[in-house]
Amino acid sequence: MGNPPDQKAPDGGDPQGALKKTPLHGLQVELGGKMVPFAGYEMAVNFPLGILGEHKHTRAVAGLFDVSHMGQLRLHGAGRAAALESLLPADIAGLAPGAMRYSQLTNDRGGIIDDLIVTNAGDCLLLVVNGANKAADLAHIEAALPAGITVEHRSGDALLALQGPGAAAVMARLAPGAENLLFMTAMAINIGGVDCYVSRAGYTGEDGFEIAMPGTRAEELARLLLAAEAVEPIGLGARDSLRLEAGLCLHGHDIDATTTPVEAGLNWSIQKRRRDEGGFPGDAVIQAQLRDGPARKRVGVLPEGRAPAREGAAILDSAGAAIGAITSGGFGPSFGGPLAMGYVAAPHAGQGTPLGLVVRGRTLPAQVAKMPFVPARYHRG
């Protein structure tokens, strides 16, 4: 048998350096987590329930994810919204207190250095960035900030995600009031004696919450949430299959420094004022793509048979010419079959367009499909 999956870092691992541990490392091991390197951390890829079971449990009831490897930054100082707008194409000045927005740190070519969530916490802006990129993001942001604006890396904080249709009932019991949050809003709230910052957001396509807290209290809070009968611990494997079914991008795979938000189909995250005014890195490139359309587009891809197509598989048009590549692909446990996403030349991006996928030297039939692959169930009120 070739290619044993455990002997390579699934993503962003650093084989040289010592792996870091999140505040929940001990609990993950205690719960039977199968530990692997990820984004410089040793984290559980799955628990005894297994990836399929964890995935389905999250969609059916509720799952608890340790996402403490992600970077939590706070931006302080007067004029912080304008300063952050100089680094990304979202409208931050117009973000009401308690509201949050998905955006991308862009480079001068309009490429995506990282994607992130920005929350207006009232007295500061909260940024949640990818774990594998957090050191680079911090340096990039610090270098660009004007005098009087500071960025604080909350490296001691933990981040938990409680996701699934049963999440709101668990929160209503443990953190009354949190269940009233709408999708992409946030509030400070005490849970079991721990001061937390809770948002209605996630990376699964389900309703759910993300809970930030001091790392010293994370295990206590995780145990409290896991004590609810509905809640199972979920590892990185199901996190990836859930986000893929939800059509959500993974930085370093579906988006990177060479892909723009427009090519990635993230136009919805660039609000009108920013489209008109620009004023972010790569604005000319992105404005031109918004006006004329990009040369390539990220699309959902549905293989016709049972064989999954993985990252890197070439995408062909119906005549057999190469038109792009798969950037994420696998098996969707809730969808019940293989699914993927990737970039194709724009003329081939229409739903239903027949494609070929080159898998192990053979061309398998596929077509462009609508994303998400399973319906999103965000709580919009």
Binding site: M1, P5, G50
Partner: protein, 125 residues
């Protein structure tokens, strides 16, 4: 009386006469996790020892399965195509992949016996 051999790549072969039944080890199925797809060789195919003959995919990743010995594929376990989870449930039994008519039984000398294979994987859980 049949005998079972293993490869360092986690395939097993149980030999009875000149026919070997092949699959992946209990250790391998555990490492792979939930298996969602298999590709099996066509009966009649001639293969050489260590050729890629099958593919198994879990939710996590794809892995190639190598022929433990040379010979002709005589049968594939078609039940796995519709129910690949059989491999997780019974890797050494119902989860067999294919049968092969050995063309050079001396190749079995290259393989590991049960005790050696178990010693090899013991520290890797």
């Amino acid at each position: 009386m049949s005998e079972i051999y293993y490869t360092e790549d986690h395939e097993w072969i149980e030999v009875e006469g000149d026919i070997g039944t092949c699959g992946i080890s209990e250790f391998a199925q555990e490492q792979l996790g939930d298996i969602v797809y298999v590709e099996l060789p066509e009966p009649g195919t001639e293969v050489s020892q260590s050729d890629e003959v099958a593919v198994v995919e879990s939710v996590k990743a794809a892995s190639e399965i190598y022929a433990p010995v040379s010979g002709e594929i005589t049968e594939s376990n078609e039940e796995l195509v519709d129910d690949p989870a059989r491999i997780n449930a019974d890797a050494m039994g119902d989860g067999w992949f294919f049968k092969i008519r050995l063309s050079d039984p001396k190749e079995l000398d290259d393989l590991l016996d049960k005790a050696t294979y178990e010693a090899l994987t013991a520290g890797q859980h």
